[in-house]
């Protein structure tokens, strides 16, 4: 009986095992005795908590992911992955199910915010040179996260089974097949056809239908989210093992003295250090360094994370209240949507694809991914780690490169839009020539040459990387704007969507 009376108390203390965190040690215990919180360090460096260090972008991406998880599970209550039912079930969710439209909107917006968040986060890691040793591996994990994030949004795009979905995925699947542009040129498609195989594996058939829908559904609701979660665990764990976020070598002199209201920077002498467990190598900052300039993660880091989460959530809710997720007519395999546009973050690629399917859809993206992956292995310099635009050239170089990148992309697009391309000038030019010489490849080559030139000029690979990355940002932004705003029916050029005319 006594035990029963005491149950609420004992239950509470079994939940809250480390007691109210009043001391530093209690605050650490709060973190590491909880399986969800223990991905956090017990103490964080004050540098990591400055807003300009991260702008909270990684956490914003994570928050958006959590929102898509929750709303995604809710949508699964009603969604039916079959061509005959999918469109109608989304329509039900949108118009009949209580709060259905709102939840669907949140899912859409959170997915968009996640993509933007991941891209901005990558840009911040790049520009603060935070990918350098020992963080090369985490940079690669990050790239895997980027690919999975984009794959999630691509697979999700098919599920509503409306005209947009059907034609965007038809185009996407044929991009997978476009390796044939190469195999056709050497005449071996008949017996070796990796492009066709990719399309077959993706769609489970030779056209977008029931097989494709169930495959995309499986990927979207199970395989990819699980993969993302596993990769995220590695990503966060690596941050801790790499000694927290990157910071400049002279961080002590860059930080102002702690404010009065922060918790004591360090009060209790450390009881043991990581090196005792013989698992930490010399470079790790935890070894041989006192915990100067660190503060307990509880409450400082927790509050910062909660703030970013709340901001992301608020942005998402506000957008979802006023802007509905689109739903076109039901998919019709006989009549393409005109213009058939992919989600906006793929429209830059779609612009390249409209010059050559293989180069725009496979060749150039692969070159970009390989280039990104190589950055931390080519840039072995130390100058400027942890600082915005750190390294030779600095923000001036980034800005100049951005201008160059914009000018180059505007130049090739202007030529292509006004004068057409090789086929119009020399009818009968073989396809292989166009595959290798088109606005996309010329642009990539121009960026690569520019980057080599910056490496020479500053005698620094970091400078070359800044040049290249800024160029690609410019290219990505401008091609995306062209794809979203200036392309209309038949992928023609229009100054404004109001000039598209009736269809």
């Amino acid at each position: 009986m006594d035990n029963l009376v005491r149950t609420p108390m004992t239950f509470w203390s079994s939940l809250n095992r480390s007691g109210m965190p009043v001391s530093d040690r209690g605050r650490s215990g709060f973190i590491f005795s909880n399986v969800f919180l223990h991905l956090h360090p017990a103490r964080v460096h004050r540098w990591s908590l400055r807003w300009p260090t991260t702008w909270g972008l990684g956490i914003a991406a994570l928050s958006a992911f959590l929102l898509t998880l929750i709303t995604g599970v809710l949508l699964m209550f009603y969604y039916k992955p079959h061509p005959a039912a999918a469109y109608l079930s989304i329509k039900d969710i949108h118009f009949v199910v209580p709060t259905g439209r709102f939840i669907r909107n949140i899912h859409r917006w959170a997915a968009n915010i996640m993509v933007v968040g991941v891209l901005l986060h990558m840009a911040r890691v790049f520009f603060t040179a935070s990918y350098r040793r020992p963080r090369e591996f985490n940079w690669l994990v990050g790239m895997a996260l980027l690919v999975v994030t984009l794959a999630l949004s691509f697979t999700g795009y098919l599920l509503p089974w409306d005209q947009l979905a059907f034609w965007a995925v038809t185009i996407g699947a044929n991009i997978a097949q476009s390796l044939r542009e190469l195999t056709d040129a050497v005449g071996m498609t008949a017996f070796f056809d990796p492009g066709g195989l990719q399309k077959l594996l993706l769609l489970g058939s030779d056209q977008v239908g029931a097989e494709a829908l169930i495959r995309f559904y499986l990927m979207h609701v199970m395989v990819l989210p699980l993969a993302l979660a596993a990769l995220l665990a590695v990503h966060f764990w690596r941050i801790r093992k790499d000694g927290g976020l990157a910071r400049p070598a002279d961080v002590g002199s860059r930080l102002p003295p702690p404010e009065g209201r922060v918790y004591p920077v360090f009060t209790e002498a450390p009881q043991k250090t990581y090196s005792l467990a013989a698992i930490v190598r010399g470079k790790t900052p935890a070894v041989g360094n006192g915990p100067e300039n660190t503060v307990p993660a509880m409450p400082h880091l927790m509050l910062a994370e909660a703030a970013v989460f709340m901001l992301t959530f608020a942005a998402c809710l506000a957008l979802s209240l006023f802007l509905d997720a689109p739903l076109k007519e039901m998919a019709n395999p006989a009549v393409p949507e005109n213009p058939a546009k992919a989600p906006w973050y793929f429209l830059g690629l779609q612009e390249l694809v409209s010059h050559s399917a293989f180069m725009g859809g496979i060749g150039i993206p692969t070159v970009c991914l390989v280039g990104l992956a190589l950055i931390p292995f080519l840039d072995r310099e130390e100058e400027g780690t942890g600082l915005w635009f750190g390294g030779p050239g600095g923000w001036r170089l980034a800005l100049a490169s951005f201008m160059f990148g914009s000018a180059a992309v505007l130049a090739v697009e202007t030529v292509a839009i006004n004068f057409g391309w090789i086929r119009e000038w020399f009818p009968g030019t073989p396809q292989i020539v166009i595959t290798f010489v088109n606005p996309g490849t010329l642009l990539t080559a121009a960026y690569a040459l520019y980057s080599v030139w910056t490496v020479r000029r500053y005698d620094s690979t970091r400078a070359g990387a800044i040049g290249l990355f800024s160029c690609f940002i410019a290219g990505f932004l401008i091609l995306t704007v062209i794809g979203v705003h200036f392309r209309g029916p038949n992928w023609g050029f229009f100054w404004s969507p109001s000039m598209w005319g009736g269809h």
């Binding site: 058939s205 030779d206 006989a334 393409p336 058939a340 409209s354 086929r423 038949n490």
Partner: protein, 169 residues
């Protein structure tokens, strides 16, 4: 004393010679073989797993269908059967069919007076399906056409024939 140390040296040398020819510890060798065996088993297993998602039979509907051309069809005028991305023509040379699936990325092209145009990335094709402009890598394929009784023909979307092949109608 001296002799004793010499003995120890000799012993060491003998020990060395017994160990030296073995470049790798026996345990290491067995361990590595086990790892290699496990890795290749996993590798072949994964290949086997990958075989499943590649369908043996395609679920898409039959590629062959029968059309009856209207009496009034003029030479050069396209007849597009309901739900099939194919344009069928009849002229003095006979009946022929051109696929309407864009060779660029699979959108359905629209027959026009001057040929075909694709809504997706603006490819244009001439009357016989040859690429005139845009990103399409090759001509629209001509499809096999077999005349059957009356004004009907059987078109096979799955079988391409050389450009210009017409079936007597």
């Amino acid at each position: 004393m001296e002799g004793g140390m010499m003995d120890a040296d000799a012993l060491d040398r003998e020990e060395d010679s017994r160990l030296a020819p073995e470049p790798m510890d026996r345990r290491d060798f067995l361990g590595l073989s086990a790892c290699a065996a496990a890795a290749s088993a996993l590798g072949f297993g994964s290949l086997g797993i990958l075989r499943l998602p590649k369908p043996g039979v395609l679920s898409s509907p039959s590629k062959k269908f029968r059309v009856t051309l209207p009496e009034s069809l003029l030479p050069g005028q396209a007849f597009v059967p309901q739900g099939r991305p194919v344009a069928v023509y009849r002229d003095d040379g006979g009946v022929f069919a051109i696929s309407l699936v864009c060779t660029h990325l699979g959108c359905v092209v629209k027959p026009t007076a001057e040929g075909f145009e694709c809504p997706c990335h603006g490819s244009r094709f001439g009357p016989g399906g040859l690429v005139k402009r845009g990103p399409a890598p090759k001509a629209l394929p001509w499809l096999s056409v077999k005349p059957v009784a009356g004004r009907s023909v059987i078109v096979d979307e799955g079988t391409a024939v050389p450009n210009g092949t017409k079936a007597a109608a």
